[in-house]
């Protein structure tokens, strides 16, 4: 393990919109039931934005809390991981930075769907390693319901809205909070498993009329499940090895909250018992890129995640894109 300049977590924050939607609420408009949703996904309730709220609004709320947690008034850069930017152009990050009063810092979006936070961590660590910034606010936010087809009962019950953020500063690789080796990967040959087919340049440059259903997110559930289980298991194993950890050394497992069944299958393969698994999918659903920092922030606030815990992070999602990394959890304040 290297002992050079590393990105170190110094603050964390999260935000979910106040509008709680239960399985029974969804069953009123979709052919589904509380029992079906619970057994297939592990989700009991989740939070949806209300009209007028966007990804940027969620990002600002999480960003404020992370800055406060870090005791920071200024950072050297802002990275926003999102699947649902406020506009197709420009990126959402500069507006979020301005609204947070951070001035004219470098700010850009990262698009890696549900793996966005881990790709964002790599981007933030890169900015620090390259000397572009000494500190970075990394926010992961998704207003996923804005791309969900309200008639699609397979995705409408899973995806939800939320945001999570961390502040990173330059530090050394052997101090608590230092991001360990990140292992990332992608497979564009399987991009069709998780996609919004229309709305981008490919559709806009075609002369065919748009099928309205193509404007929405779609996911091939069974194939996604299979790849998610296999990829998260292998990439988690690799990240632990690269950090010099045995899997039994892991104290807390923080995986993208995709679906409780996937998490159970991955944890079983990794030999990680239930008391080491962090989970909040029952209350927040799948919040896309936001899922991991939202989980970390809530677990820190609840005391399930504490200073000194060796944490293994992993994600999988559209792209396909996946990743994993390690961190020894630092002492953090939450608000």
């Amino acid at each position: 393990m290297s002992t050079g300049r590393a990105a170190v977590i110094t603050g964390i924050g999260s935000y979910v919109p106040p509008n709680v939607v239960t399985n029974d609420d969804l069953s009123e408009r979709l052919d589904t039931s509380d029992a079906w949703i619970r057994s297939r996904t592990g989700i009991v309730e989740r939070c949806f934005i209300t009209p007028g709220t966007s990804t940027g609004d969620l990002a600002v709320e999480a960003g404020l809390r992370a800055l406060k947690s870090a005791g920071a008034e200024q950072v050297g850069a802002v990275v926003l991981a999102t699947t649902t930017p406020d506009q197709p152009c420009p990126a959402t990050a500069p507006q979020v930075a301005a609204r947070l009063g951070l001035g004219q810092v470098p700010a850009f979006d990262v698009a890696a769907v549900c793996s966005g936070f881990l790709y964002g961590l790599a981007s933030a660590a890169g900015l620090i390693a390259a000397g572009v910034a000494d500190s970075v606010l990394l926010i992961a936010a998704d207003a996923f319901t804005t791309i969900i087809n309200p008639e699609d009962r397979t995705t409408a019950v899973i995806f939800a809205d939320g945001a999570g953020a961390v502040v990173l500063r330059a530090g050394s690789a052997n101090e608590p909070g230092a991001i360990g080796p990140l292992v990332l990967g992608s497979d564009g040959e399987l991009s069709h498993l998780i996609e919004v087919p229309a709305g981008g340049s490919r559709q806009r440059s075609s002369d065919r009329p748009v099928d309205p259903a193509d404007r929405y997110f779609r996911m091939l559930g069974r194939e996604t499940y299979r790849h998610a289980v296999e990829r998260m298991t292998s990439v988690s194993t690799e990240a632990a090895e690269r950090a010099g950890w045995r899997l039994e050394d892991v104290d807390r497992f923080a995986a993208h909250q995709a679906n409780a069944r996937i998490l159970e299958a991955v944890a079983k393969r990794l030999g990680l018992p239930e008391d080491k698994q962090l989970s909040n999918i029952d209350r927040v659903g799948n919040t896309g890129a936001a899922s991991i920092p939202l989980l970390l922030a809530e677990a820190t606030a609840e005391g399930r995640l504490a200073a000194g815990h060796r944490v293994l992070l992993t994600a999988f999602g559209g792209g396909l894109a996946w990743g994993a990394g390690t961190v020894v959890w630092p002492e953090l304040q939450t608000f």
Partner: protein, 76 residues
């Protein structure tokens, strides 16, 4: 093969052993679509059998699944 399938279903997929009879359907043993994917992955990792979830979904009963397993293992 039935015994091996029974063991995977009961030990790994939490199906109650009494429910696993040759005539039992997927509904009888409460094997939903995601559990079928998991079964496909387990047949590969435990028994090195390549049976896709699509093939398993076409099997109506436990006996049909056993037949698929026997066919695939005969090919190896």
């Amino acid at each position: 093969m039935l015994e091996q399938l029974k063991e995977i279903l009961s030990n790994k997929l939490k199906v109650s052993p009494e429910a696993i009879t040759p005539e039992a359907t997927r509904e009888d043993i409460e094997l939903d679509s995601l559990a079928v994917v998991e079964l496909s992955l387990l047949l590969k990792s435990e028994l090195d059998l390549d049976i896709s979830d699509d093939d398993l979904l076409e099997a109506e009963t436990v006996a049909d699944m056993v037949r698929l397993m026997e066919e695939r293992s005969a090919k190896v």
